[in-house]
């Protein structure tokens, strides 16, 4: 059994509770957990304290369960889970089990992670405490209080919970889903947060919103990035603002688990990691330009087999760079292939560009042309942005890859997974 650091704290707005206290809170809320033993469960939660206490109680009782933010539940998801004999339990009102699902195979200790479902219905990915505890190799970590921005039930959220549960001195400060950036700002004001795990999109929002001087003075010691392609521009920007912070980016997915940790401050990862020898606990390889991962932290149904990640990669010298997703990230411009991720990465090196997204726009004659959505920082003023950025791209990428259509947005679009 994994050793739980029950003394680590979770700091909510109005109180701080240890994991031991959260477990007690959950047990009081749920009552006798024996009644859940014969069912594969999803606890639907509507607050961070509910989410964390449900998780603590679920693992202490060795239930077959998962956590889901109440806001994600709709009729389609309800039916989808019912088809798989998964019971949704309203955590705030779990006094009795209604409409019990029959026929579910119950595996004590299984933790169901629901994918974001951006391309359809969410998938249930099976993990357990062992596969979520990717921190067993972390021998020492300075004490930290981590800002927790992720939506309850996402793989990144479980990762942060596992960090606090299994590594000494790792407290959490959950952000408010009503306004994450504001709650991060508040946590900087109270100076309780010393570490943060988040996405590049979240940071771009932060950099547009929070007073730069406040960021420069923040006691942030550790920054972890992931969930999206981590480009060189955001790494350099964060290094400039937090020169003493330990900045790393992590490649992970709910199916493959946490696989690659990069600490050298460069985008992509070292090509030397391409090593598929069976004795390696985590191995990566490239097949037809796609990244495959075999990890002991992958979902429990993968049984240590190679997992196709769906991520396109390209080797540039000693580096493997991410080029986007296989299903939607290639623009065919008259037979030439343009990669949005590489175009975005270049645009993001421009000092006035806060955020960029490049997509394919249907166009006469050539099939598709690259189209860019851009958020400029406030200092950009009356810059003739379209001309300026077009010239900024010229000479740095093939002519066909330079965006032809430009849309300038007022703010960074962000979804509940903190991605854009």
């Amino acid at each position: 059994m994994v050793d739980i650091k029950s003394e680590n704290l979770v700091k909510f707005n109005d109180r701080a509770l240890t994991w031991q206290e959260l477990t007690k809170y959950g047990q009081d809320r749920l009552g006798c957990t024996e009644r859940f033993r014969g069912t594969r469960l999803i606890f639907a939660v509507s607050s961070e304290i509910d989410a964390l206490s449900a998780f603590a109680t679920g693992i202490s009782a060795d239930l077959d369960f998962g956590i889901l933010d109440q806001s994600r539940i709709n009729d389609a998801l309800r039916a989808h889970l019912k088809d798989q004999a998964v019971q949704i339990i309203e955590y705030s009102d779990s006094s009795e089990l209604r409409e019990i699902c029959i026929g579910s195979e119950v595996i004590p200790g299984r933790i169901s992670v629901l994918t974001s479902g951006t391309t359809g219905l969410p998938k249930l990915i099976a993990h357990n405490i062992e596969s979520l505890n990717t921190f067993e190799r972390v021998r020492e970590l300075d004490p930290n209080c981590w800002f927790l921005p992720y939506q309850a039930g996402s793989y990144a959220w479980y990762q942060m919970i596992a960090l606090s549960l299994f590594v000494s001195g790792q407290d959490l400060a959950p952000g408010s889903s009503n306004d994450l950036v504001q709650s991060f700002d508040d946590s900087l004001s109270s100076r309780i947060v010393t570490a943060i795990s988040s996405t590049p999109t979240f940071w771009r929002q932060v950099l547009m919103t929070i007073d730069p001087q406040k960021l420069l003075n923040a006691p942030i010691r550790t920054i972890t990035l992931g969930g999206e392609i981590v480009d060189q521009a955001i790494l350099d920007r964060l290094k400039y603002i937090f020169p003493r912070a330990n900045i790393r980016h992590i490649y992970a997915s709910s199916e493959a688990g946490a696989a690659i940790v990069v600490t050298d401050g460069r985008a992509g990862f070292d090509a030397a990691l391409l090593d598929s020898r069976p004795e390696r606990p985590i191995a990566v390889r490239i097949v037809d330009g796609r990244l495959q991962v075999r990890s002991r932290y992958g979902n429990t149904e993968a049984k240590n087999e190679w997992i196709e990640t769906g991520d396109l990669v390209e080797q540039c010298g000693d580096r493997i760079l991410f080029c986007g997703r296989t299903n939607n990230q290639l623009i065919n411009v008259g037979g030439q292939k343009a990669y949005p991720a590489l175009i975005e990465a270049h645009l993001l090196t421009h000092p006035d560009v806060v955020w960029a997204r490049v997509t394919a726009k249907r166009a006469p004659m050539v099939g598709y042309l690259p189209s860019a959505e851009i958020v400029l920082n406030k200092a950009a003023g009356n810059l003739d942005a379209e001309r300026h950025l077009t010239l900024f791209c010229a000479g740095n990428m093939p002519e066909y890859a330079i965006p032809r259509i430009w849309h300038f947005l007022d703010s960074v679009p962000i979804n509940t997974s903190l991605k854009s």
């Binding site: 411009v333 008259g334 726009k361 166009a363 006469p364 004659m365 050539v366 042309l369 379209e386 001309r387 077009t390 010239l391 010229a394 002519e399 066909y400 032809r404 259509i405």
Partner: protein
Amino acid sequence: MQRAEVLEIMNHVLDKRGRTRLSNEDQTTREANFRSLDFSEVALRIEAKIGRELVFDAATMRRIETIKDVLDFFETVTKS
């Protein structure tokens, strides 16, 4: 669409790429450095402006050599 409007769109496309604006309709597209991707972008912008897709006839397209041909082409297809 008026010829002057098409010319303005073509110049916008050239201008933002740091190329010389068009001054002589008799120039060939090659001399004017007006490339197939520029042609496609102009067509896309015209489609957005008039709110419908343009119909391209391959034979007519093949005959385009000069800037005048391009202007004639867009003037015609936006009327039809």
